[in-house]
């Protein structure tokens, strides 16, 4: 095996509990996003566009869809002769086997995989954020500063700091201290869960962490704080582009609405210099009929629109019948919407059928909560689903 300068470890084992019915049968990184993609397309495409060709994907929870989606990685040019993508589920070995206990443990259990490539650096990513980032710039800065570990951060509004791990730095961006979800934050530089480590150093820390029975086996809670205690050279890398954690129903819905805002305020999915790739479903073109009204929406191929679609995102293969009205909503693949249906501020799971005259998301317009219909559900004729409900738990 030829050696690689950088090996990327993509953490994709999370259940995404807060996404409720959306992750009932699939891992969070496999959740569809943006009419055409799944969440994992963003980090994988970033790897491709950053020139990183050796990626280990750590899977654990409901891996079937994710595994078959990643395949041999050719969708992201990761079917390369040396390296490429390797799906790494937990495994049994001579010394036994166990589930990944935490993010650090997942990487620890795959030390052998990383050692195959004898890298100088390991890039650790998570598979559930929406952003475009050139990791090669971060690695470049890591080298320039002579860092031992770098953490990507972005400025967040001070009132939101309580939700993040924040980094306290000096003028040279060296990390002096660290607060996890602080009540009184001393910095508004929030960690994005993206790390670059010098591999020999990380290897030592992972081994020490594995030997510590008290550890949570987590990068944020254990590895980084221990490195700080040991006064290692830890630096931040500042990122200023669009970044969205779509880990809750509300933020997932909001992430879609962001896509519909004016250009420049969200992610530009149409940028040919930084293409987000996906496993293209092969579908015929979309058809917008005489009776349709479509405005401020993103619609994928294989759809047939005969009704009204406003401020909404439609994945491939959906049908919207006459006199149906879809507003402020997200329709995942292959949803069928019958005549006279009203869908308001809702997320409709794959292969669901909404029969005629059903009303989804009823209630006063101003305070509507997002309604969620799970995968493969059937909402019957004229049925009314109150706003904020989640069907299919």
């Amino acid at each position: 095996m030829s050696s690689k300068e950088v090996v990327t470890m993509l953490l994709a084992g999370g259940k995404g509990t807060r996404l409720g019915v959306l992750t009932k049968n699939i891992a969070k990184p496999a959740v569809p996003f943006g009419a055409e993609y799944r969440l994992i397309d963003f980090p994988l495409s970033n790897c491709m566009n950053s020139g990183l060709d050796t990626v280990g994907v750590l899977t654990q929870y409901e891996p079937l869809v994710l595994n078959s989606y990643i395949g041999n990685g050719s969708s992201w040019d990761l079917d390369s002769r040396d390296g490429g993508v390797t799906v790494l589920p937990p495994y049994l070995s001579d010394s036994g086997g166990r589930w990944y206990q935490g993010t650090a443990d997942a990487v620890f259990q795959n030390i052998q995989y990383i050692d195959l490539y004898d890298p100088d650096y390991v890039l650790v990513l998570s598979g559930d954020h929406i952003y475009k980032m050139d990791y090669s710039l971060m690695i470049e800065e890591h080298k320039e500063k002579g860092a031992e570990a770098s953490i990507a951060v972005r400025e967040v509004p001070w009132e939101e700091t309580y939700r993040f791990g924040v980094m306290i730095t000096d003028e040279e961006d060296r990390i002096k201290d660290f607060q996890e979800k602080p009540d009184e934050a001393r910095s508004n530089l929030a960690s994005m869960g993206i790390y670059v480590f010098n591999w020999p150093l990380l290897r030592d820390y992972l081994e020490a962490d594995a030997a510590d029975p008290e550890s949570d086996r987590d990068f944020g809670k254990n590895i980084i704080p221990t490195m700080l205690e040991d006064q290692r050279q830890l630096y931040t890398y500042q990122f200023s582009g669009y970044w969205k954690d779509v880990g809750t129903i509300k933020s997932y819905w909001q992430g879609h609405m962001d896509l519909l805002r004016e250009e420049g305020k969200s992610l530009d999915l149409y940028d040919r210099d930084w293409v987000i790739c996906s496993v293209n479903p092969n579908r015929p073109p979309q058809y917008v009929a005489e009776t349709a009204e479509v405005s401020n929406s993103i619609i994928n191929k294989g759809t047939r629109i005969r009704g009204s679609v406003k401020n909404s995102v439609l994945f491939y293969g959906s049908e919207v019948a006459r006199n149906a009205v879809i507003k402020d909503s997200v329709l995942m693949p292959n949803v069928s919407v019958g005549e006279g249906v009203h869908i308001n501020k809702a997320i409709i799971g794959q292969n669901s059928v909404i029969e005629r005259d059903a009303l989804i998301g009823s209630g006063e317009d101003e305070e509507l909560e997002v309604t969620v219909i799970g995968e493969g559900e059937r909402i019957e004729d004229g049925e009314e689903i109150e706003h904020g409900s989640a069907i299919g738990i």
Partner: protein
Amino acid sequence: MDNVMGIINNNPQGISLKEITGHRSLASAPVFSRYRLIDFPLSNMVNSGISNVGILLESRFRSLLDHIGPGKPWGLDTKRDGLFLLPPAHIYDNSQLYKGDMENFYTNMDYLHRSRQEYVIVDYPFVICNIDYRDVFSYHLETGADITVVYKDLETLHRDSHYTTIMTDSEDRVVDMKINPDTRRNTRISLKKYVMKKDLLLEMIDETVSKGQWDFEKNGIASRLSQYDVRGYPFHDYVAIIGSLSEFYRRNMELLQPEIFSELLEEQGPIYTKPKDEAATQYTPSSRVKNVLAANGCHIAGKVENSVLFRGVKVGENTTIKNSIIMQKSQIKENVRLENVILDKNVRVSPDKELRGDSSFPLIVEKGSTI
């Protein structure tokens, strides 16, 4: 179908679609919002279980090679069998003039010999349909014919298009065959799908070439109806023959009819094409769209009616497009009026322009033009 191989014959047979094929082969002409002509025979073959496909290249095949690559979208990038691109004779010896498609068969006889299949289907990309060749092949075996040709009875033949007509007797035996005859009375036309034993094809190549005859359909089949038992297989579903610019326009527009759309693209096997990693199409708050087919990656801010948009088309605000075909990545700025227009790839129309063709004679704008 493991015993059948496919040959896609790119002989344009004098079809004049030069406005669209000036810089590309007929087989790679864009069609139906997101496809190229060659997608149809290739998809039909793989959907029917054929795993060995040879494509006889003509001239100007750069865009065709770019589209097909190693055949991955069709699952033909395999170690066993797969896709074979067969270059024409004249690139080996440029002192030679192009004589006809038989020469291409002749140049690539090695490929035919080497292939392990016993039967072959010869197909042409400009006759589009969604067909299961398994039915044709079992009919071929049942009748014990030497050659089976797929045909359809059309309602009318267009003056400016290109047809091969056939006449059959009561047992579906082909008794007459004419390549693009001047009279348009006989509306039973060959869909240019020919099934035969590979050995028979090899014999046909040898017999025609050794007599200085160079046309597969004329010399290989039409003039040998007494020598071979040639049978017709009737096909009843939708067929589009892209034999002229007006046919190209008409057929693309026809796909806006939901029944035709379903018959061609949904009810039978899927039609595969090269994927492009485009985001989904975005409609802005000001967009007004009626009766439109659109591929991915478009950005629509204006009014579009009865039109077919290919990938990555941009339509500016206050622009109106009617009855038009807009090919890949063309950009139409603000306040533009387009009616009965075909824009080839990468055309840019500046603000406030007005272009109008006639429904029977669309205005076509060449690839890469700026207006």
